[in-house]
Structure formats: C-alpha cells, structure tokens
C-alpha cells in the first residue's frame, strides 16, 4: 500500500515537471502550383496535427497526404496516385525547433521567429535552417504561421513533360496552426 502511494506521488510529481505542450488537430497547410492561364493547381489541408513544446520551442507537425483537397476530384486522385504516391508515403511530417522561443514574450501582436528543422514528404527529407514564422498568443492559444517555396523535384516527384508547363516550378506552401494548451492526463 505504501508503495502504491509512493508510486502515485511519483506520478504526480512527474506530471508537475512535465513539459507544457500546445497542440492542434485542425492545422492548415495550403500549397499552390498554378500557372497563369492554366487550370488552377492548389490544395488545402485542414486537419493537420501539430504540437509545440513551449518550454524549449520544439515543434512537430503531421499531415496525412490523402487529406489534401483539390479543386476537383480528378486532380486529387492524380495527386495521390501519380505524384505524392500516398499509398506508399501516407504521411508528411515536420520536426524542428523554434530558435530563442520564449513563451513569456508572446502577445497578441505577431512577432517574427526563426524555425529550423526537417520536412519529410514522398519519402524525401529536406532541411530548413532559417524559416521565418510569425507567432502570436491569445490567452491559451498560440498561433503559428508562415510560408516557403519549394520544388517538386526536391521531393523526387517527377512531373511528366505533357503537364510540365501547367504546374509551377516553384510551389508556394503556406501553413497556419492555432495551438491550444494541452491538458494534462489527456
């Protein structure tokens, strides 16, 4: 019995020192590869999971590739089947760290931070060393947003000649997360 009590005390003390985490399951990622005068090529993902450790600025995000929604179903099918190969590579992930993150300095006004980390998609990982992001905080919600440009070739995705002129070389990716304080024992 005494042991049990000790265990529970240990357990509680653990949670007391455990990190502060902010999480969302409804983060947004958009990408656009449209070429003027051709059919719009863009997609939106509204159910990205992301997590932030507010003690050290570590950040991670995960999107199921099949969750990207396009203008029409055919484009979505081709994206999954021919380009992203989402049956083979179902997840896109990011893992990184916000430099000099300090929770106490955040306020309603968005401030600039730099994040570094690695993005994995289609089985390929690319490194970000200084990606600019904006962070603001409203009560228990931290907002993180930003954008970057990338190329399909960076992820080993081949675009066939016949559609090459209709898909932009530089793909603009934007992201936006509203992270809520994660409750303990949750």
């Amino acid at each position: 019995m005494k042991n049990l009590i000790i265990y529970f005390l240990l357990c509680f003390s653990c949670s007391l020192v455990s990190q502060n985490k902010y999480i969302t399951k409804t983060g947004n990622i958009n990408f656009e590869a449209s070429v003027p005068a051709f059919e719009e090529v863009k997609a939106e993902h509204k159910i990205v999971t992301a997590i932030l450790n507010s003690d050290n600025g570590e950040f991670a995000a995960l999107a199921l590739v099949k969750g990207f929604r396009f203008k029409n179903a055919l484009m979505e099918e081709h994206f999954n089947e021919n380009y992203a190969e989402s049956d083979t590579y179902p997840k896109a992930t990011f893992k990184g760290k916000i430099i000099d993150f300090d929770l106490s300095n955040l306020n309603l006004q968005a401030s600039s931070f730099v994040i570094k980390g690695e993005l994995t998609f289609h089985g390929k990982t690319i490194q970000f060393d200084n990606l600019d992001i904006l962070i603001s905080k409203n009560k228990d919600i931290i907002s993180i947003s930003g954008s970057f440009k990338t190329k399909a070739a960076d992820f080993d995705i081949k675009i066939p000649k016949i559609v090459r002129s209709k898909i932009a070389k530089n793909i603009e990716v934007t992201f936006n997360y509203l992270l809520k304080r994660k409750l303990k024992f949750n």
């Binding site: 265990y7 932030l52 991670a60 089947e81 893992k95 559609v163």
Partner: protein, 282 residues
C-alpha cells in the same frame, strides 16, 4: 503484490518515452478510409467499371469501334466501317451519375444511371459495389422491313451490378452480374431476357498506363445464335484530364446489350475490331 509493483514501475518508463514530439502526434493510424482509383476509366474496356464521375463534373466520352481488321488494307483495317458513340455522363453526387449517349451501331440512344452502393475501404469493407441501369432505344429498326413494329420493340433494358476489388496498387478485378432484356431480338430462339456474367480487370504497367481486359459470359444464348461472348483487351493511358483507352474486341457495339448480345467477331480467325474510348472531364 510484487507483480503489480513491477508493472507500476514499468509504466512511468512509457510515459517518459513520449519525449519526441513527433511520436506523440504520430499515432498509428488504422483509420478506415475509402479506396480510390480502382480503375482509371469509366469503362474497363466494354464493361462499365466501378469508377464514377465526381460530383458536378461532366465527362464526355467519344468511343470508336472500327470495322473488322480481317479485311486488311481493303477497308484500311476497319476504318471504313467505324461506329461511334458519343456519351455524356454527369455526376449528380460522387455516388450517382446520369448519362445519355448515341451510338451509330443500330442508331441506339440510351439513358443510363450509375450509382455506388458501397465503397471499398482500407481496414473495412472489401469491395466496391456499383449498380448500373440503362434504357436503350434502337432507332435503326425499320417499319418497311418489320411491318408490325411498334415503339416498344425498339426498347432494351440493362440491369447490372459491378463488384470490384483493388487487390493492390496495380491490380484491380471486377465481377459484373448482368441482366438485360431486348424487346426485339434477331432470332426467335433467343430469349428476350438474357443473363450474363462479366469478368474484368486492370493491371498498372506504370503510373499513368495500364493493361485492361474484360470478358462476358452469356448464360442463356440461343443454340443457333451467331453471336459470341465478347473478349476485349486494351490499354489505358491517362494524361491529366484525359483518359485514352485503346483496345481490340470481338464486339463492335458499345452498349451493354449490344456487346453482350450481338458481338459477332471471332478472335480465332482474326475477325476483331480495333477501337478506342477517349474521355475528357469538364
């Protein structure tokens, strides 16, 4: 007690192992999700596939079957006797399609409905089941040859279930139990109500092309019928909004009642038809 203590002591280790943030959100997702892209085209070759046009999209399908290649250069391998079918299919919802078409084979008009009853899922239901119905109007029948002809004789009906399974990323197979009824058949011995079983499949050779085949087994063909079961083999090539299907078949008709009931070619003596379906999504 010692066992319980041991378990309790082991548990915290698990709690601490959540240090990696990504692992914390990367729960093993055994989610049930729908299986897509079972077939590239709305048809395998002759048979309808379980693919449907998406909601609010319009597909225009132009199909050609040339004449028999048997006569060689004399008919330019069948080009001289080509038949054409123009077909519009609209997606009312992702699961309900309506279509209209006109084929120059017997001047057939048809109205079709295709509806998905259940979709194959990862970690879920193993098949996609789609219903297909058509009403056909044969406007080639001529009162001069058939004096007792009434409008009802021009009508034909199709009732079909399409049951497909995407076995893996490359291979998809389909069964198509079919009932069809023609109010006018060419020979008396042939029942107006006819039954058939369709078998079909596709195998992807690359990301954008596949080899396809289908075969229809007619279950109550009259003994003295001149028609044969349709066997077709072809390739699908997909380029963005288009799907090209090129194939050989021993049936020249493109409507279900036509290729099942009136396929008159024969693979064994080279009496087959070259054809293609070209589909464009709007």
């Amino acid at each position: 007690m010692k066992i319980i203590l041991a378990i309790l002591l082991l548990t915290p280790v698990f709690t601490f192992s959540q240090d990696d943030l990504l692992d914390e959100i990367d729960k093993n997702s055994n989610n049930i999700e729908n299986v897509n892209a079972v077939f590239k085209g709305l048809k395998i070759v002759n048979f309808e596939s379980t693919k449907l046009v998406a909601k609010k999209e319009l597909n225009f399908i132009v199909s050609h079957r040339f004449g028999s290649i048997k006569n060689g250069i004399d008919t330019f391998f069948g080009l001289d006797n080509a038949v054409t079918r123009l077909n519009f299919v609209y997606g009312i919802t992702d699961a309900i399609n309506l279509g209209v078409s006109r084929s120059s084979f017997l001047k057939v008009y048809d109205i079709t409905a295709k509806y998905r009853l259940i979709q194959q899922q990862h970690n879920g239901f193993p098949f996609t089941i789609v219903g297909f119905n058509a009403v056909l109007i044969n406007t080639a029948l001529d009162k001069n040859n058939l004096p007792l002809l009434e409008f009802k004789h021009r009508l034909g009906y199709t009732m079909q279930f399409l049951i497909s399974r995407k076995i893996n990323q490359d291979l998809s197979l389909q069964l198509a139990p079919t009932f069809f009824h023609d109010n006018y058949v060419l020979i008396d011995e042939q029942d107006n109500s006819q039954f058939a079983l369709g078998l079909g499949g596709r195998y992807k050779l690359g990301k954008r092309w596949s080899i396809n085949a289908d075969y229809g087994i007619h279950l109550n063909r009259a003994d003295n019928s001149l028609f044969r079961n349709p066997l077709s083999v072809g390739f699908d090539l997909e380029t963005g909004g288009h799907v090209f299907q090129m194939h050989f078949s021993n049936a020249q008709a493109m409507n279900t009642n036509g290729f099942l009931g009136q396929g008159n070619g024969d693979w064994s003596d080279g009496n087959i038809y070259f054809g293609f379906n070209l589909s464009r999504t709007f």
